[in-house]
């Protein structure tokens, strides 16, 4: 049976698609057959970050409506050969994602894949509900600021009450907290919530902390999942998160401010 994991947040722009790309790439690099599904119908981005936008022929909605087979729509990643992408439609309405249609596709994917990563759109509307409906696990992406935390809390509530697991009375979906865009300097200055604050408010186990970094933006623009930037702290932080998702114990990193060296203090006058 495939593990179905939704990457969700409630709030937009916090790093869901970046996270979906990196987590799925990380899982696939460890040899797990992985597919990442873009649920953001109408505003598709995942194909850009995965650098496969020029290879999209058929999409998720085509498969649901029977215009194409799953194999026709799946795009194989050029860097990691156990990774596939199911792109979203750019032109259709979100309502094209019917519960039955999504179920059919998820079931079919479950037969061949180990991991199904569902990249949720922002908000709590239909697309987001469909993305989390079939999930066994959820990675809740949260920025260390109050409104993002509040929205994450909201989506966690929806996950508990509106997912298939909730409706069937099964065990609730397993929740993971991923704090992104973390800037320890700004936390020290009191401009951001600390990881401890976010964890305490949301009461969800911490999967990882991704430091705020220019590398993330550059990687996205180049169509490269940031986890492949192995030298960067953001890339390493995603690799840690994938390891923890697979049950490995890894110590949390990148949570404290770098001590400024003598020279940088001299030259920046800090």
């Amino acid at each position: 049976m495939a593990r179905i994991i939704v990457v969700t947040s409630g709030k937009g722009g916090v790093g869901k698609t970046t996270t979906s790309a990196s987590i799925s790439t990380g899982l696939a690099r460890r040899g797990h057959k992985t597919v990442v599904v873009d649920f953001d119908v109408g505003l598709r981005n995942l194909d850009l970050i995965m650098n496969c936008e020029r290879r999209v022929v058929y999409d998720f909605v085509n498969v649901i409506q029977g215009d194409a087979s799953l194999n026709q729509a799946l795009i194989r990643d050029k860097r990691v050969d156990t990774l596939y992408i199911l792109p979203a439609s750019q032109t259709r309405e979100k309502e094209a994602l019917t519960k039955e249609g999504v179920e059919k596709v998820i079931n079919e994917l479950s037969e061949t894949f180990d991991y199904i990563i569902c990249d949720s759109p922002a908000g709590i509307e239909h697309g987001a509900l469909m993305a989390l409906y079939y999930a066994d696990e959820a990675i809740v992406v949260t920025n260390p600021e109050v409104s993002s935390v509040r929205d994450s809390d909201r989506i966690l509530g929806i996950l508990q009450s509106k997912s298939r697991r909730a409706e069937m009375g099964q065990d609730p979906a397993k929740e993971h907290l991923l704090v992104t865009r973390y800037n320890p300097d700004r936390v020290e200055r009191g401009e951001m919530l600390s990881v401890a604050d976010v964890e305490e408010i949301l009461a969800v186990p911490l999967l990882g902390v991704i430091p705020e970094s220019q590398i993330v933006l550059n990687a996205s623009n180049q169509g490269l999942p940031v986890i492949l930037e192995e030298q960067s702290d953001a890339g390493q932080a995603y690799d840690d998160a994938v390891a923890r998702l697979l049950g490995e114990e890894r110590e949390q990193r990148f949570m404290t401010a770098q001590k400024k060296g003598f020279f940088s203090r001299m030259f920046k006058g800090g």
């Binding site: 509040r150 809390d153 909201r154 966690l156 509530g157 929806i158 508990q160 009450s161 408010i201 009461a203």
Partner: protein, 251 residues
Amino acid sequence: MSDTATSGVQQVFQLKSASVSMTALELYYFDSDEFEETLRNKINQAPGFFQDTPLIISLEKYEGLDSELDFFNIIGACRRNKIHVVGVRGGNDDQRRLARGAALALMPGNNQRDKPHEAQATDEKPELPAAHTHQAAPEPPPAKIISQPVRSGQQVHAPEGDLIILAPVQAGAEVLAAGNIHVYGPLRGRALAGIHGAESARVFCQSLEAELVSIAGHYKISEDLQDNGWKSAVQIQLRDDLLVVTPLDKA
């Protein structure tokens, strides 16, 4: 589908004994205008709490004339305020006949229920209706226990009895109970205890960070709660129509 068709044992319904706690309106006398005005004032104190609630009219303390007792008028006034009168409690035979005429259910009054008192006090009326003599004491409604966090946008409702939450109540969440509310975690959302008017209800929490706390319609918002016991373990109760916050370690 197929199993309901094949199994002949499935019944349309089953009758079960249930004890439901309800709001009783203790009527002292009846005047149409005063009645509706008082009702509206009561509701305004706790907007939303009374919406679509069942109500019984208690006649035990009624001192007005039987002829003034216009049940159709009472029902109409309640309907206009979204309250449903389901029956009457107590009252003499004439009053109960009027109630039956208005299609209301008849419930035994407190003095009819309290057997020992009755037997002692009135020797000239030794026979009680058989149905009332062996009425079991109503079981207190069980507390509702929640062990998952109550998240923003969620509402947990204990329409009878207490509500016990073994997890945080998050900002933007709402918990309501007819009785007490216990939160073994931070209370960051809204907590409304005694929603059917129980003024003895209390709210207990491990850390008071609430947006709103209400007991029997008397409420305080976050701003007014900051000065006393904020972010600490407290209980909140109603004293002389005022919400009083006391630390739990000094209770």
